[in-house]
C-alpha cells in the first residue's frame, strides 16, 4: 500500500509539474477567468453614436409620418426598455432574488451601454418626382469618422405607389425599396424595416376600415412562462439552463477523465520505452504499479475537475445563480468521475503497457475513444428525452452508463433513485472488469517489445496470464 502511494505520488507530481500541464490545464481556466472579468468592462464601452437622415420617397403620403414616429428617439427608448424587461424576465427567478443590491441597476446600465446611445434619425421626405438615382447620390459620400452628421443620408426608402392601396386587378399589394450606404449598423436597418412594415400595415388596415389596435389585440396571444411541476413543488422552466447544465457536467466529466487517461497512457508508454519499468517491477508488483499510476492520474483528473468545476461555480456565484444548482449533483459528479476515470484509466494502462511508442497506441485507442464519444454524440437526444428507451438502456451499459446517467440526472426530469443506484452498481462492476482485464494485459504487455499488438492480441494476453 505504501509503495503504491509512492508510485501515485510520483505520478501526480511529475504530471502536474510539466510545462504542458501547467499551460494546458491551469492557464486556460486562468485566461477564461480573465475574460469573464474583462468582458463586462469591455461591454461598458459605448457603441458608436448614430445620427443622420432617412430619406423617403412616399407617393402614398401616409407612410412617412408613421415611420418618422417609429424612428423617433422616444420610441427607440421605449422599445429598448421593453427589450431590457424581456432580458430580465428571461433571467431565472433565483438570479433576480439573489442579485446583490445595485446589481439590477448595474445590469441595466450595461445593457444600455451595449445597445449604445439612442439613434437620432431625421426622416426627410423627398419631393415627388425626385429621380431615384439623384436621391441615391448622397449615400455614396463618406461619413465623418466619428459619425454624428445630422444631414448625412444613411438610407433611402422608395415606397411603391400601390403599397397601401391595391391597384385595380391585382391580388397583392406593392412594397418598398430600401437603399443603404455601406458599413451601416445592421440593427438600424432592421429598425427601419420594422418601422416601414408597421407603418404600411397600419395604413392598409386604416384604408380597409379596420382599427390597427384592435387587429393587433385580436392577433396577439401572450406566451406565458412555462412551469416545471415536480414533487417538491413548481418552478419556472428555464430552457437554456436545462440544456446547459447537462452539457456543462458532461464536459467536466469528459475533460477530467480524458486528461487523466491521456497522461496515464503517456507515462506508461514512457516507462516502457525508457525500459525503466523493469526496475520498477523489481520493487513493486505489476498490480501495485498499475493501481499506483491509476490513483496518481485520478488525482490529476480530480484536480482538473476541481479547477473547472470551481470556475463554473464561481461563474454561477458571480451571476448570483448558484441556487440553480442542486448540491447533490456535485456529489454525483464526483462519484461518476471515479467510476468513469477508473474504467478509462484501466483501458489506457492496458494500451500503454502493450505498445512501444505513442504512435502505435492510436490504433488501439478507438474502443477507448468510443467510451467518451458515444455519450457526447448522444448528448442532445438524451438531454431532450432523458427517459427515452435509449437513454435508460445506456444508463446500465458500462462504461457509457457513467456519462449517460450524469446527463440524465442533470436534465429537467431526473431518473428515479433506483435507476441511479443500479447505474452506479453496474458502473462499479464495469470498473472491476476493466481493472481485471487491464491488470492481466499490463503484466504481460510491459515486458513485451516488438510488433505493435492488435486488440485481439490484448485479449490473448489477458487469457494467457
Amino acid at each position: 500500500m505504501r509503495k503504491m502511494l509512492y508510485v501515485a505520488g510520483r505520478e501526480f507530481t511529475t504530471t502536474v509539474m510539466t510545462r504542458g500541464f501547467i499551460v494546458g490545464m491551469l492557464l486556460t481556466p486562468a485566461l477564461l477567468g480573465l475574460v469573464i472579468f474583462i468582458m463586462p468592462r469591455m461591454m461598458t464601452r459605448a457603441a458608436p453614436k448614430i445620427e443622420g437622415q432617412v430619406a423617403i420617397l412616399d407617393p402614398t403620403g401616409v407612410v412617412k409620418d408613421a415611420l418618422s414616429s417609429y424612428l423617433s428617439p422616444e420610441k427607440f427608448a421605449e422599445r429598448r426598455a421593453k427589450t431590457r424587461e424581456e432580458i430580465e424576465r428571461q433571467a431565472p427567478a433565483e438570479l433576480r432574488q439573489r442579485a446583490p443590491a445595485g446589481a439590477d441597476a448595474a445590469m441595466r446600465q450595461s445593457v444600455e451601454t451595449a445597445l449604445g446611445e439612442v439613434p437620432r434619425l431625421a426622416v426627410t421626405e423627398l419631393p415627388p418626382g425626385t429621380e431615384i438615382e439623384q436621391a441615391k447620390a448622397p449615400l455614396k459620400t463618406p461619413l465623418p469618422k466619428q459619425g454624428g452628421d445630422p444631414n448625412a443620408r444613411l438610407v433611402l426608402v422608395v415606397v411603391h405607389r400601390d403599397a397601401v392601396v391595391r391597384e385595380a386587378g391585382k391580388d397583392s399589394y406593392g412594397t418598398y425599396d430600401l437603399y443603404e450606404r455601406g458599413k451601416i449598423d445592421e440593427r438600424l436597418v432592421d429598425d427601419i424595416h420594422s418601422g416601414l412594415r408597421e407603418a404600411i400595415v397600419s395604413a392598409r388596415l386604416k384604408e380597409s376600415g379596420l382599427n390597427p389596435a384592435d387587429v393587433r389585440n385580436l392577433t396577439t396571444v401572450k406566451r406565458p412562462e412555462s412551469l416545471t411541476v415536480t414533487a417538491e413543488g413548481e418552478r419556472t422552466t428555464n430552457t437554456a439552463l436545462n440544456m446547459l447544465l447537462p452539457a456543462g457536467f458532461m464536459l467536466l466529466l469528459m475533460m477530467s477523465v480524458m486528461t487523466s487517461g491521456q497522461y496515464l497512457l503517456m507515462t506508461t508508454v514512457e516507462e516502457k520505452s525508457n525500459r525503466v519499468v523493469e526496475v520498477l517491477l523489481s520493487a513493486v508488483s505489476a498490480m501495485e504499479l498499475m493501481t499506483g499510476k491509476i490513483f496518481g492520474q485520478m488525482a490529476v483528473g480530480l484536480l482538473v475537475l476541481a479547477l473547472y468545476a470551481g470556475l463554473g461555480l464561481m461563474a454561477l456565484f458571480s451571476f448570483a445563480s448558484i441556487g440553480l444548482l442542486d448540491p447533490i449533483l456535485i456529489v454525483y459528479l464526483v462519484v461518476f468521475y471515479f467510476l468513469a476515470a477508473f474504467t478509462y484509466a484501466a483501458m489506457m494502462a492496458a494500451i500503454g503497457s502493450a505498445v512501444n511508442e505513442m504512435s502505435e497506441a492510436q490504433s488501439l485507442m478507438m474502443p477507448a475513444m468510443m467510451v467518451v464519444m458515444v455519450p457526447w454524440v448522444l448528448w442532445l437526444p438524451i438531454s431532450r428525452e432523458p427517459n427515452a428507451l435509449l437513454a435508460v438502456v445506456l444508463s446500465f451499459v458500462p462504461p457509457f452508463s457513467n456519462f449517460v446517467m450524469l446527463l440524465r440526472m442533470t436534465s429537467n426530469s431526473p431518473p428515479p433513485f433506483w435507476q441511479t443506484s443500479l447505474s452506479i452498481a453496474v458502473g462499479a462492476a464495469g470498473v472491476y472488469a476493466a481493472l481485471w482485464f487491464a491488470a492481466k494485459v499490463f503484466r504481460v504487455g510491459l515486458l513485451m517489445y516488438g510488433k505493435p499488438p492488435t486488440f485481439g492480441t490484448l485479449i490473448r494476453w489477458a487469457r494467457m496470464s
Binding site: 509503495k3 514512457e270 516507462e271 525508457n274 525500459r275 517491477l281 523489481s282 513493486v284 508488483s285 515486458l447
Partner: protein, 328 residues
C-alpha cells in the same frame, strides 16, 4: 547453509518458444554465482522469474526462503539488462524514489544517495537530469539503485556491459564488497573473464537448459584440456620428435608455439621434465581451460551436452574445438 535461491523444474514458454526448460538451480546464501550463456539462452527469463517479474508455467521456486520474490522484494537488488531511467527526473530524486520503493524510509535515504553517488564518482550529478548523463553514468546510477538498500540478494544482468575498464573495476569492487558483506550475488554476463575473476561458481544456460553448474575449480578440473604449450629456445629444434615421448599423444605447431596433447592417463608432472630434457625450452606451461573455451565448446558442440558429459567436452577441447579456432 540455507539456499538463497532454489529453482525446481522451472519452465517458461512464450507461444511456441520454450525460453526455459526444466531448470533446477540452488544458490547458497552468501555465494557469488555467475550465469553465462549465449544470447537468447534464457538467462534473462530465468532472472525475471526469480524476481517474480515473469511467472513460470511450471515448476517451483524459493527466493530468500519465500515462495515468491514478491514477498521479499525489499531484500533484493536488481540491475536489469535493459537500462532505463526516468529521463526528465533528477538523479538524486530518482534514487530517493527507487530507494523508497525498496522499503527505505526516513531522512537517511538522502544521505545514503549522496554517499553512493560519491562512491561511484558521480558526486556532482545529484541535481542533474538523467538525460544529461552519459550512458555509462546512467548505468552507474542504475547500479546504485540496485545496491543502495543493502540487499541480501543482488541480481545483476550484464552489469559491466557498456562500461569502460575504469568503471568496470569500480563496479566489480562494489560487487565484491557486497559479497564480502554477506550478500548473495547472482550475475549474468557475456564477458567470460569477469565470470572467471569474480565467481566461485558458474552456471551456464543454453537453449533454455542448464548445461553447466560447477565451481570454478571444478570446471578447471573437469575441462582440463590435458595440453602443454612449448616454445623451444632454438627455433630450428626438431620439436616433432617430442611425440615419441611417453604420455605425449601428438605435437601440433601453432606459429612459434607447439601444442603437446597428452594421453588420458599421462601425468603432466612426469611429461614436463622429459620434454625439458629433450629440447631446451624458452617457455613451457600446462594449458589451463578458460571459461571462454568451455563456453564456446558447449555452444558450438550442440545443445544436447549434459552437465556430466565432461569427457565429451574434454575431447572437444583437446581436439582443438571451437576454442582453438577462435583464439586464432
Amino acid at each position: 547453509m540455507a539456499d538463497a535461491i532454489v529453482l525446481k523444474n522451472l519452465t517458461k514458454t512464450f507461444g511456441e518458444t520454450v525460453a526455459v526448460r526444466d531448470l533446477d538451480l540452488a544458490v547458497p546464501e552468501g555465494a557469488l554465482y555467475g550465469v553465462i550463456g549465449p544470447n537468447g539462452a534464457g538467462k534473462t527469463t530465468m532472472i525475471r522469474m526469480i524476481l517474480s517479474i515473469l511467472f513460470p508455467d511450471r515448476g517451483e521456486l524459493t527466493v530468500l526462503g519465500r515462495g515468491s520474490a514478491l514477498e521479499a522484494k525489499d531484500r533484493i537488488g536488481y540491475l536489469p539488462e535493459e537500462r532505463g531511467l526516468y529521463k526528465k527526473m533528477r538523479v538524486g530524486e530518482l534514487l530517493v524514489y527507487l530507494a523508497r520503493l525498496k522499503g527505505m524510509s526516513g531522512q537517511s535515504v538522502q544521505r545514503q544517495v549522496r554517499t553512493w553517488l560519491e562512491r561511484v564518482e558521480l558526486g556532482d550529478c545529484e541535481h542533474k537530469r538523467c538525460d544529461d548523463l552519459s550512458k555509462g553514468m546512467q548505468q552507474k546510477v542504475q547500479f546504485v539503485a540496485a545496491v543502495i538498500h543493502r540487499p541480501d540478494l543482488l541480481i545483476l544482468d550484464e552489469p559491466f556491459s557498456g562500461l569502460d575498464p575504469v568503471n568496470q573495476r569500480v563496479m566489480r569492487d562494489i560487487v565484491l564488497e557486497e559479497h564480502r558483506r554477506g550478500a548473495t550475488v547472482l550475475f549474468s554476463t557475456h564477458i567470460m573473464t569477469h565470470a572467471e575473476q569474480l565467481c566461485d561458481h558458474v552456471v551456464m544456460i543454453h537453449r533454455g537448459e542448464k548445461v553447466l553448474d560447477q565451481t570454478m575449480a571444478g570446471i578447471r578440473e573437469t575441462f582440463d584440456p590435458r595440453r602443454i604449450l612449448f616454445e623451444p629456445l632454438d627455433p630450428g629444434a626438431d620439436v616433432a620428435r617430442l611425440a615419441a615421448l611417453p604420455g605425449v599423444r601428438s605435437v601440433v605447431r601453432d606459429g612459434a608455439v607447439w601444442d603437446l596433447s597428452l594421453g588420458e592417463t599421462a601425468n603432466p608432472s612426469a611429461v614436463i621434465p622429459a620434454v625439458v630434457a629433450a629440447i631446451t625450452p624458452s617457455r613451457i606451461e600446462v594449458r589451463r581451460p578458460t571459461l571462454e573455451d568451455v563456453f564456446i565448446s558447449i555452444v558450438t558442440g550442440g545443445a544436447a551436452i549434459a552437465e556430466d558429459d565432461g569427457a565429451r567436452l574434454r575431447a572437444a577441447l583437446r581436439d582443438g574445438g571451437g576454442a582453438h579456432e577462435v583464439r586464432r
